[in-house]
């Protein structure tokens, strides 16, 4: 996916994809596309299939039926390692390896690809500036970092090779509200700044709307509605959409 491609090209595309785990339909005949350079929020209750969808895009799972295309080409297992190197992936707890320092985590893939130590450090420091990781944190082990710092390092690890796309699976799910709010701002800023294809999985409608204009609401492995927040609010395709959007509590003045 060369960076100068026109925005009309689809970075990721699923056509009629189904995936079953035993008796559970994780994805049920889903067709979706994600144009290059756009940010999309995938939202739904737990078990709605949104994480499975991300994992299919990375070749961590394979569809039972249907096709996954990346950059217009059908995903095949022999190209899956190259694909993963062009896509940054961040999960809820960061997925940092506890036996390596932050820098060791960042260096894992680059040094396998033959980067020099200096080049790794230089890139790590660039990204530390981008994600506001405090200096000195690079030398620490994941267990010595705060939750927010761990997520920053995880994001940096995803960005080390300057990938074309970022897939984030509930990246802020395990953080306390203040850190979470702060990181929401920062992530939004980073997405805007980098102009990459971004897919964020979350179960928080406010966070979804904050990150992306396009929101895809999923339920029981199916796409319920694909649109903007207003569409979901004003033109829900079924009562569940309203139910989901309104289930998020907002603070109001006591109305007594």
């Amino acid at each position: 996916m060369p960076a100068n491609n026109s925005a009309s090209l689809e970075a990721f595309e699923l056509s009629c994809v189904s995936k079953r785990y035993g008796a559970v339909m994780a994805l049920d005949n889903v067709s979706l596309s994600f144009p290059a350079g756009t940010t999309t929020s995938l939202i739904g209750s737990s078990g709605s299939g949104k994480s499975t969808l991300l994992r299919l895009l990375l070749g961590l799972e394979w569809p039972d039926q249907g096709q996954v295309k990346v950059d217009g080409e059908v995903l095949e297992s022999e190209h899956v390692l190259e694909l993963r190197r062009r896509v940054g992936y961040v999960i809820q707890d960061g997925g940092l390896f506890p036996h390596l320092t932050a820098l060791g985590n960042l260096a894992l893939l680059p040094s396998h690809l033959g980067w020099s130590r200096e080049r790794v450090r230089q890139r790590a420091e660039e990204l530390a500036a981008l994600t506001h990781l405090p200096s000195g944190a690079l030398e620490r082990y994941p267990a010595e970092l705060s939750g927010g710092q761990r997520q920053r390092v995880a994001l940096m690890r995803g960005l080390m090779l300057n990938p074309d796309a970022l897939l984030l699976d509930e990246p802020l799910g395990a953080l306390d509200p203040i850190v979470r709010h702060e990181l929401q701002d920062e992530l939004k800023h980073i997405f805007d700044q980098l102009g990459k294809t971004v897919i964020v999985v979350t179960h928080d409608i406010a966070e979804a709307a904050w990150f992306a204009e396009r929101i895809v609401l999923m339920r029981h492995g199916k796409v319920v509605q694909d649109g903007r927040l207003e569409d979901l609010r004003q033109r829900p395709v079924e009562p569940f959409v309203t139910h989901f959007v309104e289930a998020q509590r907002t603070l109001r003045e006591p109305s007594v």
Partner: protein, 493 residues
């Protein structure tokens, strides 16, 4: 480290080949056999033949197997053992010429009787026997309340307890298996009323025992003889000649006297055998320290080589087990079965493949080491959280790199714990290696148990315990050193 072991292996191989030059005499793990082994060695020396004596090689099956495979050249045996246990299709009362003919196709030669019959007998304390008026084995039938303690070998052999009970119709039900060496103590402490013993045992007069008359002539003749490899008649005729000259020279009294000198007066087998032959004993001259050093080296060799080989095989097996569920179950079951084989049996199983001495012991220890290492490698790898394993995959790292850089380091602690368990168990189990001639700390333990010499037992047991503690400490150090610091920290939140 690995190269060091390979270098050590390469250095050891030629020394195994060189060992083949002198004539090798074996003996079983009881005093009479050791004395007869020394008699043969000294007689050979007298005849100008270089010979070495591998003492206390466990029981009959080990020596018989070692003789057949050419790991030893000769050992003292009894005709009754040949007719009842070792040779099939031979009458129970076969004479020596018959046995010679039966042994010839096996490539084994036999001397004439050395002059005494060391047969099984049943012994009781003199006071107890006279109180109950028991003189013959038949008299036992009227005392069903008596309890017996028999050596494990006697319990199992067809010519032992099962046959004896049938012949005399013995009604006793309290029958226990005891180590022969301990049975005299059991008898004198009144824990049992009767034991099996050998007619030349030194303890018979010492403990004031009465040997019961075998009035139905159940026990076969156990004439002492030497067995030797027929190949020696060409390779070392002087040695065979020296063995033959010993026949008819040792009568029951002479043997009982030599046994008593060793067991009750604490003389060395070498001294007693030399006195008998009228030659000067060759002094072994080794002090406690040099003995200890020698055994430490032997013991370490057993433990280190077996453990290294086990690590090299078991870690990959653990990795495969973690990768494929079905294969994993098969590997785990197989190494679990190995663990259930009793140590001595395992050592004996190894003789056909590796002979006697260091290598079968190493092979047995190697097999015992597999399970803890395979299991801990498997547990360590399977215990890595799925999201971390997936993160490594999602980075785009190939499988091998993931294993080396992520999964094995995270499982390191568990793997090392498995190696530690295997090492500590090995240090203990290696003491049994002495029974197949592997030396080590087991040697003084085996001799000490045989001679009822607590000092000798401790000479092996204390260093073995110290080594086990050191190994434990060493591995805890290695664990600390090899476990990445990040794995020892508690996550903060």
């Amino acid at each position: 480290m690995k190269y060091w072991f390979i270098a050590a292996l390469v250095c050891l191989l030629p020394s195994m080949v060189l060992c083949a030059t002198p004539v090798r005499i074996g003996s079983k793990q009881f005093t009479e056999s050791v004395i007869l082994g020394e008699v043969a060695r000294l007689a050979a020396r007298q005849a100008g033949v270089q010979a070495q004596h591998q003492r206390e090689l466990g029981g009959t099956s080990i020596l018989w197997s070692a003789l057949q495979h050419g790991d030893i050249d000769a050992y003292p045996e009894y005709t009754g053992t040949l007719t009842h246990e070792l040779l099939k299709n031979v009458a129970a009362d076969a004479d020596i010429p018959t046995l010679r003919a039966a042994l010839k196709p096996l490539g084994i030669g036999i001397t004439d009787s050395l002059g005494f019959n060391d047969t099984y007998a049943i012994g009781m304390r003199e006071d107890r026997a006279s109180q109950l008026d028991i003189r013959r084995i038949s008299d036992l039938t009227t005392h069903p309340e008596l309890s017996f303690g028999f050596s494990n070998e006697f319990m199992d052999r067809t010519d032992g307890w099962p046959g004896l009970r049938q012949r005399y119709g013995l009604p006793q039900t309290q029958v226990r298996g005891l180590d022969h060496i301990l049975s005299y103590r059991a008898l004198s402490s009144k824990a049992v009323d009767a034991i099996d013993l050998y007619s030349t045992d030194a303890e018979i007069p010492y403990y004031h025992l009465r040997t019961l008359d075998d009035d139905k002539h159940y026990f076969p003749h156990y004439d002492a003889i030497y067995l030797y490899r027929l190949a020696l008649e060409q390779n070392s005729p002087a040695f065979v000649e020296a063995l033959r000259k010993l026949s008819g020279r040792i009568d029951e009294n002479a043997m009982r006297k030599m046994n008593a000198e060793v067991k009750l007066q604490g003389k060395k087998e070498t001294t007693v055998a030399a006195d008998f032959l009228g030659v000067k004993p060759d002094t072994d001259g080794a002090g406690l320290l040099s003995r200890l050093l020698q055994r430490t080296i032997e013991h370490l060799k057993l433990v280190l080589i077996s453990l290294t080989a086990a690590v090299l095989l078991a870690v990959p097996l653990g990795v495969f087990s973690a990768r494929s569920k079905r294969l994993g179950q098969a590997i785990m079951a197989a190494s679990g079965v190995l663990q259930t084989i009793p140590s001595l049996a395992m050592f004996v199983f190894m003789i056909p493949f590796f002979g006697i001495g260091t290598w079968p012991a190493i092979a047995a220890l190697f097999l015992y080491s597999l399970l803890p290492i395979v299991r801990n490698t498997y547990t360590g790898l399977v215990g890595i959280p799925a999201d971390l394993r997936e993160s490594a995959a999602a980075l785009g790292l190939p499988r091998g790199v993931r294993l080396r850089r992520v999964e094995l380091p995270m499982a390191m602690r568990s793997i090392l714990a498995g190696v530690k368990t295997a090492a500590v168990i090995n240090v203990g189990t290696a003491t049994l290696g002495a029974l197949i001639g592997a030396g080590g700390y087991g040697q003084p333990i085996v001799t000490g148990i045989r001679l009822d010499d607590t000092g000798l037992i401790l000479e092996g047991a204390i260093p073995a315990a110290v080594m086990a503690l050191l190994v434990q400490g060493l591995f805890e150090g290695i664990e600390r050193w090899l476990t990445p610091r990040g794995m020892r920290l508690e996550a903060r939140d």
